[in-house]
Protein backbone atom coordinates (compact mmCIF):
# COMPACT_ATOMS: atom_id res chain seq x y z
CA UNK A 1 0.00 0.00 0.00
CA UNK A 2 0.98 3.68 -0.19
CA UNK A 3 1.74 5.56 3.00
CA UNK A 4 3.16 8.92 4.05
CA UNK A 5 6.40 8.28 5.95
CA UNK A 6 8.76 10.47 7.97
CA UNK A 7 12.05 10.91 6.22
CA UNK A 8 13.96 13.15 8.61
CA UNK A 9 13.46 16.73 9.69
CA UNK A 10 11.22 18.70 7.30
CA UNK A 11 10.82 15.76 4.98
CA UNK A 12 7.98 13.30 4.39
CA UNK A 13 7.50 11.06 1.39
CA UNK A 14 4.72 8.84 0.07
CA UNK A 15 6.17 5.36 -0.32
CA UNK A 16 5.09 1.81 -0.99
CA UNK A 17 5.12 -0.28 2.18
CA UNK A 18 3.73 -3.72 3.13
CA UNK A 19 -0.01 -3.96 3.85
CA UNK A 20 -0.87 -4.20 7.55
CA UNK A 21 -1.85 -7.55 9.05
CA UNK A 22 -3.62 -8.55 12.24
CA UNK A 23 -1.07 -8.92 15.08
CA UNK A 24 -3.51 -9.38 17.98
CA UNK A 25 -6.99 -10.83 18.41
CA UNK A 26 -8.34 -7.40 19.27
CA UNK A 27 -6.98 -5.75 16.05
CA UNK A 28 -8.98 -4.65 13.03
CA UNK A 29 -7.73 -3.47 9.64
CA UNK A 30 -9.35 -0.31 8.31
CA UNK A 31 -9.33 0.77 4.66
CA UNK A 32 -8.89 4.50 5.02
CA UNK A 33 -11.30 6.84 3.24
CA UNK A 34 -10.08 10.14 4.75
CA UNK A 35 -7.14 11.15 6.89
CA UNK A 36 -5.86 14.53 8.05
CA UNK A 37 -2.64 16.32 8.92
CA UNK A 38 -2.67 17.48 12.54
CA UNK A 39 -0.86 20.49 13.96
CA UNK A 40 0.92 18.05 16.25
CA UNK A 41 2.26 16.25 13.15
CA UNK A 42 4.20 19.46 12.50
CA UNK A 43 6.13 18.95 15.75
CA UNK A 44 7.28 15.60 14.27
CA UNK A 45 7.92 17.18 10.88
CA UNK A 46 9.97 19.96 12.47
CA UNK A 47 11.98 17.37 14.40
CA UNK A 48 11.05 18.41 17.94
CA UNK A 49 9.64 15.09 19.15
CA UNK A 50 12.40 12.60 19.95
CA UNK A 51 12.46 8.92 18.93
CA UNK A 52 11.23 9.30 15.35
CA UNK A 53 12.65 6.81 12.89
CA UNK A 54 13.06 7.11 9.14
CA UNK A 55 10.20 5.19 7.55
CA UNK A 56 7.63 5.77 10.31
CA UNK A 57 4.14 6.09 8.87
CA UNK A 58 2.59 9.32 10.13
CA UNK A 59 -1.02 10.21 10.88
CA UNK A 60 -3.39 9.81 13.78
CA UNK A 61 -6.61 11.32 12.40
CA UNK A 62 -8.32 8.81 10.14
CA UNK A 63 -11.52 6.96 9.30
CA UNK A 64 -12.62 4.28 6.91
CA UNK A 65 -14.12 0.86 6.45
CA UNK A 66 -13.41 -2.27 8.50
CA UNK A 67 -12.02 -4.85 6.06
CA UNK A 68 -10.59 -7.43 8.46
CA UNK A 69 -10.86 -8.13 12.18
CA UNK A 70 -9.39 -10.38 14.83
CA UNK A 71 -11.52 -12.83 16.74
CA UNK A 72 -11.63 -10.56 19.80
CA UNK A 73 -13.53 -7.80 17.98
CA UNK A 74 -17.22 -8.56 18.44
CA UNK A 75 -18.60 -5.03 18.26
CA UNK A 76 -17.58 -4.35 14.65
CA UNK A 77 -18.45 -6.08 11.40
CA UNK A 78 -16.64 -6.15 8.10
CA UNK A 79 -17.93 -3.20 6.08
CA UNK A 80 -18.64 -0.97 9.10
CA UNK A 81 -17.73 2.69 8.62
CA UNK A 82 -15.68 3.87 11.60
CA UNK A 83 -13.77 6.85 12.96
CA UNK A 84 -10.67 5.84 14.95
CA UNK A 85 -9.56 7.77 18.06
CA UNK A 86 -5.88 8.74 18.11
CA UNK A 87 -4.98 7.29 21.53
CA UNK A 88 -4.90 3.49 21.66
CA UNK A 89 -6.61 2.28 24.84
CA UNK A 90 -7.15 -1.22 26.23
CA UNK A 91 -10.37 -0.50 28.13
CA UNK A 92 -9.28 -2.88 30.90
CA UNK A 93 -6.70 -1.12 33.10
CA UNK A 94 -7.45 1.18 36.03
CA UNK A 95 -6.93 4.32 33.90
CA UNK A 96 -9.31 3.14 31.17
CA UNK A 97 -11.90 2.06 33.75
CA UNK A 98 -11.78 5.67 34.98
CA UNK A 99 -12.10 7.12 31.45
CA UNK A 100 -8.47 8.27 31.44
CA UNK A 101 -7.90 6.60 28.08
CA UNK A 102 -4.91 8.66 26.93
CA UNK A 103 -2.93 7.38 29.90
CA UNK A 104 -3.88 3.73 29.31
CA UNK A 105 -1.41 1.57 31.21
CA UNK A 106 -1.05 -1.20 28.66
CA UNK A 107 -0.93 0.06 25.08
CA UNK A 108 2.58 1.45 24.84
CA UNK A 109 4.98 -1.40 24.04
CA UNK A 110 7.81 1.08 24.56
CA UNK A 111 6.65 1.96 28.08
CA UNK A 112 10.21 1.55 29.36
CA UNK A 113 11.37 4.26 26.95
CA UNK A 114 8.56 6.63 27.93
CA UNK A 115 9.23 6.11 31.65
CA UNK A 116 12.80 7.36 31.17
CA UNK A 117 11.53 10.63 29.64
CA UNK A 118 8.22 11.26 31.42
CA UNK A 119 8.49 9.23 34.63
CA UNK A 120 5.55 7.14 33.49
CA UNK A 121 4.30 5.88 30.18
CA UNK A 122 1.09 7.12 28.56
CA UNK A 123 -1.08 5.38 25.97
CA UNK A 124 0.11 4.31 22.55
CA UNK A 125 -0.69 6.80 19.76
CA UNK A 126 -0.91 6.10 16.03
CA UNK A 127 1.96 7.50 13.99
CA UNK A 128 3.43 9.57 16.79
CA UNK A 129 7.03 8.54 17.48
CA UNK A 130 8.38 5.47 19.25
CA UNK A 131 7.98 7.13 22.63
CA UNK A 132 4.24 6.58 22.23
CA UNK A 133 4.61 3.02 21.02
CA UNK A 134 5.95 2.99 17.47
CA UNK A 135 2.53 2.37 15.96
CA UNK A 136 2.14 2.81 12.19
CA UNK A 137 -0.11 5.79 11.46
CA UNK A 138 -3.13 6.50 9.31
CA UNK A 139 -1.80 8.67 6.48
CA UNK A 140 -1.98 5.54 4.37
CA UNK A 141 -4.37 3.37 2.40
CA UNK A 142 -4.84 0.95 5.31
CA UNK A 143 -4.13 0.90 9.04
CA UNK A 144 -4.09 -1.74 11.72
CA UNK A 145 -6.25 -0.60 14.64
CA UNK A 146 -5.33 -2.31 17.94
CA UNK A 147 -8.07 -2.67 20.57
CA UNK A 148 -10.68 -2.12 17.89
CA UNK A 149 -13.25 -3.42 20.38
CA UNK A 150 -12.63 -0.29 22.50
CA UNK A 151 -11.74 2.68 20.29
CA UNK A 152 -13.54 3.13 16.98
CA UNK A 153 -17.03 4.65 16.75
CA UNK A 154 -19.43 3.36 14.09
CA UNK A 155 -20.93 6.00 11.80
CA UNK A 156 -24.33 4.81 10.71
CA UNK A 157 -25.91 8.08 9.58
CA UNK A 158 -25.33 9.67 6.23
CA UNK A 159 -22.66 12.23 7.16
CA UNK A 160 -19.80 13.14 4.84
CA UNK A 161 -16.28 12.08 5.93
CA UNK A 162 -15.38 15.70 6.68
CA UNK A 163 -18.32 16.07 9.08
CA UNK A 164 -17.20 13.16 11.29
CA UNK A 165 -13.45 12.69 10.62
CA UNK A 166 -12.44 15.15 13.33
CA UNK A 167 -14.00 12.98 16.04
CA UNK A 168 -10.63 11.19 15.77
CA UNK A 169 -8.75 14.00 17.50
CA UNK A 170 -9.21 17.73 17.09
CA UNK A 171 -12.91 18.09 17.95
CA UNK A 172 -12.65 15.99 21.16
CA UNK A 173 -9.27 17.59 21.95
CA UNK A 174 -10.73 21.10 21.71
CA UNK A 175 -13.76 19.99 23.69
CA UNK A 176 -11.54 18.41 26.36
CA UNK A 177 -9.64 21.70 26.66
CA UNK A 178 -12.91 23.51 27.33
CA UNK A 179 -14.15 20.73 29.62
CA UNK A 180 -11.06 21.19 31.82
CA UNK A 181 -12.16 24.82 32.35
CA UNK A 182 -15.24 23.83 34.43
CA UNK A 183 -17.53 26.13 32.46
CA UNK A 184 -20.82 26.67 34.31
CA UNK A 185 -22.17 29.51 32.17
CA UNK A 186 -21.24 33.18 31.90
CA UNK A 187 -17.45 32.79 31.93
CA UNK A 188 -14.85 34.48 29.80
CA UNK A 189 -12.49 31.97 28.20
CA UNK A 190 -9.32 32.89 26.29
CA UNK A 191 -7.94 30.46 23.73
CA UNK A 192 -4.29 30.76 22.68
CA UNK A 193 -3.99 29.51 19.10
CA UNK A 194 -6.72 29.67 16.45
CA UNK A 195 -5.50 26.58 14.64
CA UNK A 196 -7.84 23.61 14.15
CA UNK A 197 -7.77 22.54 17.84
CA UNK A 198 -8.18 26.15 18.98
CA UNK A 199 -11.22 26.52 16.69
CA UNK A 200 -12.85 23.50 18.34
CA UNK A 201 -11.89 24.69 21.83
CA UNK A 202 -13.66 27.98 21.03
CA UNK A 203 -16.73 26.26 19.58
CA UNK A 204 -16.87 23.89 22.58
CA UNK A 205 -16.57 26.70 25.14
CA UNK A 206 -19.52 28.38 23.38
CA UNK A 207 -21.49 25.08 23.44
CA UNK A 208 -20.84 24.81 27.19
CA UNK A 209 -22.21 28.27 27.88
CA UNK A 210 -19.19 30.58 28.09
CA UNK A 211 -20.37 34.15 27.58
CA UNK A 212 -17.24 35.53 25.99
CA UNK A 213 -14.57 33.59 24.15
CA UNK A 214 -11.40 35.37 23.09
CA UNK A 215 -9.28 33.93 20.25
CA UNK A 216 -5.55 34.75 20.20
CA UNK A 217 -3.39 34.26 17.10
CA UNK A 218 -1.09 36.12 14.73
CA UNK A 219 -2.90 35.19 11.50
CA UNK A 220 -5.92 37.30 10.69
CA UNK A 221 -7.54 34.64 8.47
CA UNK A 222 -7.56 32.21 11.41
CA UNK A 223 -8.96 34.86 13.74
CA UNK A 224 -11.70 35.59 11.19
CA UNK A 225 -12.59 31.86 11.14
CA UNK A 226 -12.72 31.93 14.96
CA UNK A 227 -15.11 34.90 14.87
CA UNK A 228 -17.28 33.83 11.94
CA UNK A 229 -17.34 30.04 12.24
CA UNK A 230 -16.31 28.92 15.72
CA UNK A 231 -18.23 31.57 17.66
CA UNK A 232 -15.48 33.66 19.29
CA UNK A 233 -16.73 37.01 20.60
CA UNK A 234 -13.36 38.81 20.59
CA UNK A 235 -9.94 38.45 19.02
CA UNK A 236 -6.37 39.40 19.91
CA UNK A 237 -4.00 39.65 16.94
CA UNK A 238 -0.54 39.63 18.46
CA UNK A 239 1.13 40.39 15.12
CA UNK A 240 -0.23 43.93 15.68
CA UNK A 241 0.46 44.21 19.42
CA UNK A 242 2.66 41.62 21.13
CA UNK A 243 1.48 42.37 24.66
CA UNK A 244 -1.18 39.66 24.88
CA UNK A 245 -1.50 39.81 28.66
CA UNK A 246 -2.35 43.54 28.69
CA UNK A 247 -4.83 43.15 25.84
CA UNK A 248 -6.61 40.30 27.65
CA UNK A 249 -6.82 42.37 30.83
CA UNK A 250 -8.17 45.29 28.83
CA UNK A 251 -10.83 43.07 27.24
CA UNK A 252 -11.92 41.71 30.62
CA UNK A 253 -12.14 44.89 32.68
CA UNK A 254 -8.79 44.14 34.29
CA UNK A 255 -9.95 40.80 35.73
CA UNK A 256 -8.31 38.45 33.26
CA UNK A 257 -10.11 35.50 31.66
CA UNK A 258 -11.69 32.96 34.06
CA UNK A 259 -9.85 30.21 32.25
CA UNK A 260 -7.22 30.13 29.54
CA UNK A 261 -6.70 27.31 27.06
CA UNK A 262 -3.24 26.74 25.55
CA UNK A 263 -3.95 25.22 22.14
CA UNK A 264 -0.46 26.04 20.88
CA UNK A 265 2.15 23.89 22.60
CA UNK A 266 5.87 23.56 22.18
CA UNK A 267 6.49 25.68 19.08
CA UNK A 268 4.84 28.89 20.16
CA UNK A 269 5.47 32.00 18.13
CA UNK A 270 5.59 35.36 19.81
CA UNK A 271 5.87 39.04 19.15
CA UNK A 272 8.40 39.67 21.93
CA UNK A 273 11.48 39.66 19.72
CA UNK A 274 14.34 39.21 22.16
CA UNK A 275 12.85 36.44 24.29
CA UNK A 276 11.60 34.58 21.24
CA UNK A 277 15.00 34.77 19.56
CA UNK A 278 16.71 33.43 22.69
CA UNK A 279 14.28 30.52 22.94
CA UNK A 280 14.49 29.78 19.23
CA UNK A 281 18.26 29.38 19.59
CA UNK A 282 17.94 27.14 22.64
CA UNK A 283 15.43 24.93 20.91
CA UNK A 284 17.46 24.74 17.72
CA UNK A 285 20.54 23.71 19.69
CA UNK A 286 18.42 21.25 21.64
CA UNK A 287 19.21 22.83 25.01
CA UNK A 288 15.48 23.39 25.58
CA UNK A 289 12.89 21.21 23.88
CA UNK A 290 9.79 23.34 24.35
CA UNK A 291 9.20 27.01 23.53
CA UNK A 292 6.73 28.23 26.05
CA UNK A 293 5.42 31.71 25.24
CA UNK A 294 1.79 30.62 25.08
CA UNK A 295 1.87 28.77 28.40
CA UNK A 296 3.71 31.61 30.17
CA UNK A 297 1.28 34.23 28.88
CA UNK A 298 -1.67 31.97 29.74
CA UNK A 299 -0.49 31.86 33.35
CA UNK A 300 0.19 35.59 33.49
CA UNK A 301 -3.17 36.50 31.92
CA UNK A 302 -5.46 34.13 33.81
CA UNK A 303 -7.54 35.72 36.58
CA UNK A 304 -6.53 34.81 40.15
CA UNK A 305 -8.13 31.53 41.17
CA UNK A 306 -8.69 30.55 37.53
CA UNK A 307 -7.79 27.54 35.42
CA UNK A 308 -5.09 27.09 32.79
CA UNK A 309 -5.95 24.21 30.47
CA UNK A 310 -3.11 22.81 28.35
CA UNK A 311 -4.01 20.79 25.26
CA UNK A 312 -1.21 22.02 23.01
CA UNK A 313 1.49 19.35 22.81
CA UNK A 314 4.71 19.64 24.81
CA UNK A 315 7.51 17.11 24.51
CA UNK A 316 10.12 17.72 27.13
CA UNK A 317 11.39 20.62 29.20
CA UNK A 318 10.60 24.30 29.37
CA UNK A 319 12.56 27.25 30.75
CA UNK A 320 11.24 30.21 32.73
CA UNK A 321 8.04 28.69 34.07
CA UNK A 322 6.27 31.59 35.89
CA UNK A 323 6.00 29.73 39.16
CA UNK A 324 5.46 32.92 41.17
CA UNK A 325 2.38 33.94 39.19
CA UNK A 326 1.11 30.37 39.15
CA UNK A 327 1.39 29.95 42.92
CA UNK A 328 0.46 33.38 44.19
CA UNK A 329 -2.57 33.73 41.92
CA UNK A 330 -3.80 30.33 43.08
CA UNK A 331 -4.18 28.90 39.60
CA UNK A 332 -5.05 25.35 38.63
CA UNK A 333 -3.02 23.85 35.82
CA UNK A 334 -4.78 21.03 33.98
CA UNK A 335 -3.56 19.19 30.94
CA UNK A 336 -3.49 16.13 28.82
CA UNK A 337 -3.76 14.31 25.59
CA UNK A 338 -7.51 14.03 25.13
CA UNK A 339 -9.30 10.94 26.46
CA UNK A 340 -11.02 10.69 23.08
CA UNK A 341 -12.92 7.45 23.79
CA UNK A 342 -14.80 9.24 26.58
CA UNK A 343 -16.05 12.01 24.29
CA UNK A 344 -16.83 10.12 21.06
CA UNK A 345 -20.47 9.39 21.71
CA UNK A 346 -21.50 12.73 23.24
CA UNK A 347 -19.72 14.65 20.49
CA UNK A 348 -21.19 12.49 17.74
CA UNK A 349 -24.56 13.34 19.31
CA UNK A 350 -23.73 17.05 19.04
CA UNK A 351 -23.04 16.53 15.32
CA UNK A 352 -26.28 14.55 14.91
CA UNK A 353 -28.26 17.24 16.73
CA UNK A 354 -26.88 19.87 14.39
CA UNK A 355 -25.15 21.76 17.22
CA UNK A 356 -21.94 21.82 15.22
CA UNK A 357 -20.65 20.88 11.79
CA UNK A 358 -16.91 20.21 12.30
CA UNK A 359 -16.15 20.40 8.56
CA UNK A 360 -15.88 24.20 8.87
CA UNK A 361 -12.13 23.95 9.57
CA UNK A 362 -11.27 22.22 6.25
CA UNK A 363 -9.46 24.51 3.84
CA UNK A 364 -7.47 22.03 1.73
CA UNK A 365 -8.28 18.65 0.17
CA UNK A 366 -5.56 16.60 -1.50
CA UNK A 367 -4.85 13.14 -2.77
CA UNK A 368 -2.63 11.15 -0.33
CA UNK A 369 0.24 11.33 -2.82
CA UNK A 370 0.41 15.08 -2.25
CA UNK A 371 0.99 14.74 1.50
CA UNK A 372 4.45 16.37 1.26
CA UNK A 373 2.84 19.49 -0.31
CA UNK A 374 0.16 19.35 2.37
CA UNK A 375 2.78 19.44 5.14
CA UNK A 376 4.58 22.42 3.56
CA UNK A 377 1.37 24.36 2.93
CA UNK A 378 0.14 23.71 6.49
CA UNK A 379 3.48 24.41 8.16
CA UNK A 380 4.00 27.75 6.42
CA UNK A 381 0.30 28.74 6.59
CA UNK A 382 0.31 29.26 2.83
CA UNK A 383 -2.92 29.88 0.98
CA UNK A 384 -4.77 30.57 4.27
CA UNK A 385 -4.39 26.93 5.29
CA UNK A 386 -6.15 25.74 8.46
CA UNK A 387 -6.78 22.03 7.89
CA UNK A 388 -5.62 19.58 5.24
CA UNK A 389 -7.62 16.42 4.50
CA UNK A 390 -5.90 13.68 2.48
CA UNK A 391 -7.78 11.14 0.37
CA UNK A 392 -6.00 7.83 -0.21
Amino acid sequence: MRANVWNGRNSVEVENVPDPTILNDRDAIVKISSTAICGSDLHLYDGYIPTMKKGDILGHEFMGEVVEKGKGVANLDIGDRVVVPFPIACGDCWACKHELYSVCENTNPNAGMAEKVFGHSSAGIFGYSHLTGGYAGGQAEYARVPFADVGPIKIEEDFSDEQVLFLSDIFPTGYFGADLCDIQGGETIAVFGAGPVGQFAIASAVLMGAERVIAIDQYDYRLQMALNKAGATDIVDFSKDPDIVEQLKELTGGRGPDAVIDAVGMEAAHGHGALHAAERVKQATRSESDRGHALRDAILACRPGGIVSVIGVYGGLLDKFPSGAFMNKGLQLRAGQCHVQKYLKPLYDHIRNGDIDPSFVVTHRMELGRAPDGFETFKHKQDECVKVVLKP
Binding site: A3, V5, V17, P18, D19, P20, T21, L23, N24, D25, R26, T51, K53, K54, G55, D56, I57, G72, I88, C90, D92, C93, W94, K97, E105, N106, T107, N108, P109, N110, A111, G112, M113, G124, G127, H130, G133, G134, Y135, A136, G137, R144, P146, F147
Partner: protein, 129 residues
Protein backbone atom coordinates in the same frame (compact mmCIF):
# COMPACT_ATOMS: atom_id res chain seq x y z
CA UNK B 1 21.34 1.38 42.88
CA UNK B 2 17.99 -0.17 43.62
CA UNK B 3 17.37 -3.54 42.07
CA UNK B 4 13.69 -3.56 42.78
CA UNK B 5 10.73 -3.21 40.46
CA UNK B 6 7.00 -3.01 41.08
CA UNK B 7 3.78 -2.89 39.12
CA UNK B 8 0.09 -2.62 40.00
CA UNK B 9 -2.49 -4.84 38.35
CA UNK B 10 -6.29 -4.70 38.59
CA UNK B 11 -7.53 -7.74 40.48
CA UNK B 12 -7.40 -9.21 43.97
CA UNK B 13 -4.11 -10.60 45.34
CA UNK B 14 -5.64 -14.11 45.21
CA UNK B 15 -6.51 -13.81 41.51
CA UNK B 16 -3.20 -12.24 40.59
CA UNK B 17 -1.17 -14.83 42.54
CA UNK B 18 -3.07 -17.61 40.86
CA UNK B 19 -2.35 -16.17 37.40
CA UNK B 20 1.32 -15.74 38.30
CA UNK B 21 1.62 -19.48 38.63
CA UNK B 22 -0.27 -20.41 35.46
CA UNK B 23 1.40 -21.49 32.24
CA UNK B 24 0.92 -18.78 29.61
CA UNK B 25 1.11 -16.08 32.27
CA UNK B 26 4.14 -16.99 34.41
CA UNK B 27 6.93 -14.46 33.77
CA UNK B 28 9.85 -16.48 32.40
CA UNK B 29 12.70 -14.23 33.35
CA UNK B 30 11.65 -13.50 36.92
CA UNK B 31 10.93 -17.19 37.33
CA UNK B 32 14.36 -18.23 36.10
CA UNK B 33 16.02 -15.55 38.25
CA UNK B 34 14.51 -16.92 41.47
CA UNK B 35 13.91 -13.34 42.52
CA UNK B 36 11.99 -12.46 45.68
CA UNK B 37 8.38 -11.71 44.71
CA UNK B 38 5.71 -10.32 47.03
CA UNK B 39 2.04 -9.56 46.39
CA UNK B 40 0.25 -6.81 48.35
CA UNK B 41 -3.22 -5.37 48.07
CA UNK B 42 -3.03 -1.80 46.68
CA UNK B 43 -4.99 0.97 48.41
CA UNK B 44 -8.58 1.69 47.40
CA UNK B 45 -9.71 0.11 44.16
CA UNK B 46 -6.24 -0.04 42.62
CA UNK B 47 -5.79 -3.81 42.64
CA UNK B 48 -2.64 -5.68 43.60
CA UNK B 49 0.98 -4.56 43.82
CA UNK B 50 3.66 -6.99 42.74
CA UNK B 51 7.12 -6.24 44.13
CA UNK B 52 10.20 -7.92 42.74
CA UNK B 53 13.53 -7.66 44.56
CA UNK B 54 16.54 -9.00 42.69
CA UNK B 55 18.67 -8.99 45.81
CA UNK B 56 16.40 -11.44 47.55
CA UNK B 57 15.78 -14.90 46.27
CA UNK B 58 12.67 -17.00 46.15
CA UNK B 59 12.44 -19.71 48.80
CA UNK B 60 14.83 -22.48 47.73
CA UNK B 61 16.63 -20.25 45.20
CA UNK B 62 20.35 -20.53 44.50
CA UNK B 63 21.48 -17.13 45.72
CA UNK B 64 25.19 -17.17 44.96
CA UNK B 65 24.80 -18.41 41.43
CA UNK B 66 21.99 -16.00 40.61
CA UNK B 67 23.72 -12.97 42.13
CA UNK B 68 26.59 -13.57 39.70
CA UNK B 69 24.33 -14.00 36.74
CA UNK B 70 22.22 -10.98 37.60
CA UNK B 71 24.86 -8.30 38.10
CA UNK B 72 24.50 -5.06 36.17
CA UNK B 73 21.52 -3.12 34.89
CA UNK B 74 20.18 -5.45 32.25
CA UNK B 75 18.36 -7.81 34.64
CA UNK B 76 16.20 -5.03 36.05
CA UNK B 77 15.08 -4.02 32.55
CA UNK B 78 14.15 -7.62 31.87
CA UNK B 79 12.24 -7.85 35.13
CA UNK B 80 10.30 -4.72 34.16
CA UNK B 81 9.54 -6.21 30.72
CA UNK B 82 8.24 -9.32 32.44
CA UNK B 83 6.04 -7.34 34.81
CA UNK B 84 4.54 -5.23 32.01
CA UNK B 85 3.89 -8.29 29.86
CA UNK B 86 2.29 -10.11 32.78
CA UNK B 87 0.07 -7.09 33.52
CA UNK B 88 -1.02 -6.82 29.88
CA UNK B 89 -1.78 -10.55 29.68
CA UNK B 90 -3.86 -10.46 32.86
CA UNK B 91 -5.68 -7.20 32.07
CA UNK B 92 -6.06 -7.31 28.28
CA UNK B 93 -5.67 -10.99 27.39
CA UNK B 94 -2.52 -10.52 25.31
CA UNK B 95 0.61 -8.50 24.68
CA UNK B 96 0.16 -5.18 22.86
CA UNK B 97 2.35 -5.11 19.75
CA UNK B 98 3.23 -2.16 17.56
CA UNK B 99 4.97 -2.13 14.20
CA UNK B 100 8.05 -0.56 15.86
CA UNK B 101 8.05 -3.11 18.71
CA UNK B 102 6.29 -6.14 17.20
CA UNK B 103 7.36 -8.50 20.00
CA UNK B 104 5.72 -6.24 22.56
CA UNK B 105 7.66 -4.67 25.46
CA UNK B 106 11.24 -5.86 25.09
CA UNK B 107 14.32 -4.19 26.57
CA UNK B 108 16.51 -5.26 23.65
CA UNK B 109 14.10 -3.60 21.20
CA UNK B 110 14.43 -0.17 22.79
CA UNK B 111 17.69 0.64 21.07
CA UNK B 112 16.88 -0.90 17.71
CA UNK B 113 13.30 -0.06 16.90
CA UNK B 114 12.14 -0.99 13.43
CA UNK B 115 10.29 1.71 11.49
CA UNK B 116 6.60 2.06 12.39
CA UNK B 117 5.33 0.45 9.22
CA UNK B 118 3.79 -2.99 8.59
CA UNK B 119 6.07 -6.02 8.68
CA UNK B 120 7.02 -8.22 5.72
CA UNK B 121 5.90 -11.85 5.96
CA UNK B 122 9.39 -13.07 6.84
CA UNK B 123 9.65 -10.54 9.68
CA UNK B 124 6.26 -11.62 11.03
CA UNK B 125 7.51 -15.19 11.32
CA UNK B 126 10.67 -14.02 13.05
CA UNK B 127 8.78 -12.16 15.76
CA UNK B 128 6.42 -15.06 16.25
CA UNK B 129 3.10 -13.61 15.06
Amino acid sequence: MTRKAAITILGSPEEIKKRWGEAGYRPDYIDSADAGVTFKPAPGDRGTEIHVDLDKTAPGGKLGEMAMKLSGREPLAKVKDDLRRFKARVETGGIPRSEGSPEGELAERKLKQRPAQPLEKSELEKVGV
